[in-house]
């Protein structure tokens, strides 16, 4: 299927976000940004600190609201989509609840949705299998390594089968080896679950390796500097050594370095 034929999972139109509006420390975080994410797409947002990429993600998740413009998620206002639990979220800090076991962490959203205890337990076991943490359900998060904690966070985000996954630098705190491993895992999970992923990252190779499209953002005010399509096909260990991979990495790097050329395209 051609990407353009798919329904839109996220549609942000002319979104502007001003923090501390009317105060001396007013900041224009996003200036007239439009983004559309197709169903089942893997889209990355990349840019330097302060480019508004996390703000963009939080707007999509309706954790904050635009000063101007509209955000639709699965065709609904973002707030409605949040209440309908259309998306799952993962952050840079795994954000696990220390006081809940691994299994109870994965069960948390299900518990809030009123699932029965046995259904919850069964689902959590399935999800822990999916992220390859069989048998760790009874442990407490602080007994796990950073990579394992992040996998629990992903299992939790996907536990209620949301159609969209919003990820804010989820692998940012991991070492390089664990990080590459987690990227492969995420692609496998994405492949197995038909989820739309919007992924915020600082890392160029990470964005290129994972995504179908990379949105390059520029700071002050946050704007979209370029949209880089990536088509690496089936990704494996050799992908990171391939010419196409390096080409795309270079394209993203150039876009990050260039000031906005106004076309929004760099190809």
């Amino acid at each position: 299927m051609n990407k353009d034929d798919r329904d839109q999972a996220v549609e942000a139109t002319s979104v502007t976000k001003v923090f501390n509006q009317g105060k001396p420390n007013e900041v224009l975080a996003l200036d007239d940004v439009s983004v559309a994410v197709a169903q089942r797409e893997f889209l990355s947002l990349i840019g330097p600190s302060g480019c508004g990429k996390s703000t963009m993600l939080r707007l999509m998740a309706a954790l904050t609201h635009p000063s101007e413009g509209t955000v639709l998620v699965n065709g609904k206002p973002a707030d409605q989509a949040r209440r309908d639990r259309d998306y799952g979220m993962a952050f840079q800090t795994a954000g696990l609840f220390d006081w809940r076991t691994v299994s109870q962490n994965v069960e948390l959203p299900l518990q809030l949705m009123g699932w029965s205890k046995s259904d919850r337990r069964r689902r959590a076991t399935e999800m822990l299998d999916l992220v390859r943490l069989e048998g760790f359900g009874g442990h407490y998060p602080r007994e796990l390594s950073g990579g394992m904690q992040q996998r629990v966070a992903i299992a939790r985000a996907l536990s209620f089968s949301p159609s969209i996954l919003f990820m804010d630098e989820p692998f940012g705190a991991l070492d390089e080896i664990t990080r590459e491993h987690m990227q492969t895992e995420l692609l496998r999970i994405w492949d197995e679950t038909d989820t739309t992923v919007v992924f915020v990252t600082h890392s160029i190779p990470e964005a290129v390796f994972l995504s179908e499209r990379v949105l390059v953002m520029s700071p002050r005010p946050g704007r979209i500097a370029a949209v880089i399509p990536v088509d690496l096909g089936e990704r494996n260990f050799d992908t990171r050594e391939s010419t196409e991979f390096f080409e795309r990495v270079t394209a993203v790097r150039k876009a990050l370095r260039q000031p906005d050329d106004g076309t929004g395209q760099l190809l």
């Binding site: 954790l63 979220m89 952050f91 609840f97 006081w99 407490y140 007994e143 390594s145 394992m148």
Partner: protein, 259 residues
């Protein structure tokens, strides 16, 4: 088990060694009894006055425990209100700070006038007021000092404010609460005994200490002080036990699990 023994033995060795040194030095120097009775004399007095001391411990213990329960309950409820409603924060917090600035034990004689000289109510009120502040301040801090990602996560699930309080704020506040509780236990014992110097039940530890010291029975006075510290130690141990039961995750150490 050996691990446990190792953690218990140093304080035990120092404690017993200290008592022995105390006993020996007094045997050599032989000061007058009012300066410092020997540990053996205090122990002998404790056994000799067993019946009176047990009654006194029950009497003071009642004040300590009920006062603690009131103070902790009010402190936690106030903390919940303050962390939830801005209006409550703006009213309760300055009042609590003002109350904490009052030398509360100094109010004991005034409370005696309110409740009657031999009523334990005045002692309970002193304990309650003294316990309230550390519990209130620390629990409030714990309830508000939460991981913003966890709050965002709960919001992303469409969780209600009460669900956020129950699943995130209260568990986050637990370590703060129990730290405050352990401080409050020691404060409660001090508050009860000192307020008993001014009034309250006459069979309690406070009057026992005052009377024995007044009649130069220093070993007996010390025995009563010892009984008071046993109340404190007992309650501290209970608080520690409650802490471990309430927060099993705190016991979970990094078991060396890795990718």
């Amino acid at each position: 088990m050996t691990e446990r023994l190792r953690s218990v033995s140093p304080p035990l060795v120092v404690g017993i060694g200290g008592l022995l040194a105390w006993e020996l030095v007094l045997g050599v120097v032989q000061p007058k009894g009012f300066v410092l009775p020997a540990p053996s004399a205090i122990l002998a007095s404790l056994i000799e006055n067993q019946a009176v001391i047990v009654t006194a411990v029950q009497s003071t213990g009642f004040v300590v425990i009920t006062g603690l329960l009131f103070g902790v309950t009010v402190g936690v409820l106030a903390a919940l209100a303050v962390s939830r409603f801005r209006l409550a924060d703006e009213t309760i917090t300055p009042l609590a700070v003002a109350v904490s600035a009052i030398p509360i034990i100094a109010l004991a004689p005034i409370f005696n006038a309110w409740f009657g000289l031999t009523s334990p109510r005045s002692n309970q009120l002193v304990v309650t007021l003294l316990v309230f502040f550390p519990i209130f301040i620390n629990t409030t801090r714990g309830l508000t000092d939460t991981d913003p990602d966890q709050i965002d996560l709960m919001r992303s699930y469409g969780a209600s404010r009460w669900q956020i309080t129950k699943e995130v704020r209260i568990p986050s506040a637990m370590p703060f609460f129990f730290t405050a509780l352990k401080i409050a236990v020691a404060l409660a014992v001090i508050a009860a005994i000192v307020s008993e110097y001014f009034g309250g039940r006459q069979d309690a530890l406070g009057p026992l200490i005052v009377q024995n010291a007044g009649f130069a029975r220093f070993a007996a006075a010390w025995a009563a002080v010892l009984a008071g510290s046993l109340i404190g130690i007992g309650l501290y141990a209970l608080a520690r036990l409650a802490e471990r039961l309430a927060m099993p995750w705190q016991e979970a150490v990094n078991a060396g699990v890795d990718d």
